[in-house]
């Protein structure tokens, strides 16, 4: 019997991914939520590998699974412990959460039906005007990145640099009650 291991791996990773993300949003402790987020991000990276996108997998592991949970955990641990606590919830909050669960489940139902029903989605990629691979070479991701999308790479660098500097500026505080240097 021919077993489709790729598909089985995808299903297993999907279970881990969805379970991890559920644990992120229902967790009461911030640090645990951050580590469950790390699990979710690593499994998403593994799914990128299944989709033959090794470069995006590396970037996902470096930027997301490496940096974001560490950033969150250090941000929490360098402040006081009270930032982790969430105040107790009354009946009104429970009603609100129940309503939100219903609404989100309805949204997921609509999306699932539209994906599984025989809708005639377009089967071929629409040509993007700025995408024009050279005719002699195969259109690889590096071609796109550094030929057609070179300005996007530069903009990513500028955006990341300015965001990090802005984050340091916002978080730096010499005296209590004063934001910014």
């Amino acid at each position: 019997m021919d077993v489709d291991w790729e598909f089985i791996a995808f299903l297993v990773l999907s279970v881990f991914e969805v379970a991890g993300s559920i644990l992120v949003v229902i967790n009461k402790r911030l640090v645990r939520a951050a580590f469950w987020l790390a699990l979710t991000l690593v499994t998403i990276g593994a799914i990128y590998l299944l989709f033959l996108s090794e470069f995006i997998f590396i970037i996902q592991i470096l930027v997301y699974a490496g940096a974001v949970p560490v950033l969150v955990v250090f941000g929490i641990m360098l402040t006081r412990r009270r930032i982790m606590d969430e105040p107790g919830r009354g009946g009104v909050v429970m009603l609100r959460e129940f309503t939100i669960v219903l609404a989100v489940a309805a949204l997921f139902g609509v999306m699932a039906v539209s994906f599984l029903a025989p809708v005639s989605w377009p089967q071929s990629a629409t040509a993007i005007p700025v995408y024009n691979p050279p005719p002699t070479s195969s259109p690889g991701i590096a071609n796109s990145l550094f030929d057609s999308f070179a300005i996007a790479v530069i903009l990513i660098a500028v955006l990341l640099g300015s965001a990090m500097i802005g984050g340091v500026y916002l978080a730096k505080m010499d005296e209590p009650g004063k934001v910014g240097p």
């Binding site: 790729e6 598909f7 995808f10 299903l11 999907s14 991914e17 993300s21 559920i22 992120v24 949003v25 967790n27 939520a33 951050a34 987020l37 991000l41 998403i44 799914i47 299944l50 989709f51 033959l52 996108s53 470069f55 995006i56 970037i59 996902q60 930027v63 997301y64 940096a67 974001v68 950033l71 969150v72 941000g75 402040t79 930032i83 969430e86 959460e97 669960v101 609404a103 989100v104 949204l107 997921f108 999306m111 994906f115 599984l116 990629a125 259109p139 991701i141 071609n143 796109s144 996007a152 955006l159 990341l160 965001a163 990090m164 802005g166 984050g167 916002l170 505080m173 009650g177 934001v179």
Partner: protein, 100 residues
């Protein structure tokens, strides 16, 4: 061979879980993590469609999305930490100084 519809289902489930986190949780950092989950769901779609159609442009957009999401996480965390230091709480029901 992974059917694209199954990937779309997983991505939709991730997006809905993240949406629940954004709407239901009151801790601002959990909301930030939920936004990360939602962004990852959309990036997963980019990669899957790039694989399904054999066009690497989707991976470029996924890269752009990852960079933007990382920047958003850094700036959002800095904003919430400084709100915590000035106001003593990051409960989104209590932070209402931008409302009148």
């Amino acid at each position: 061979m992974i059917p694209l519809a199954y990937e779309l289902l997983v991505s939709a489930a991730l997006f809905c879980i993240g949406l629940y986190g954004v709407l239901a949780r009151r801790n601002a950092i959990i909301v930030l993590l939920s936004i990360e989950i939602m962004l990852n769901a959309s990036i997963l779609n980019f990669v899957a469609f790039s694989w399904g159609s054999g066009n690497p442009s989707g991976q470029v957009f996924a890269l752009l999305g990852i960079a933007v999401a990382a920047a958003e996480a850094a700036v959002g965390l800095a904003v919430f930490l400084s709100i915590y230091q000035t106001h003593g709480s990051i409960d989104l029901d209590q932070i209402r100084f931008l409302k009148w």
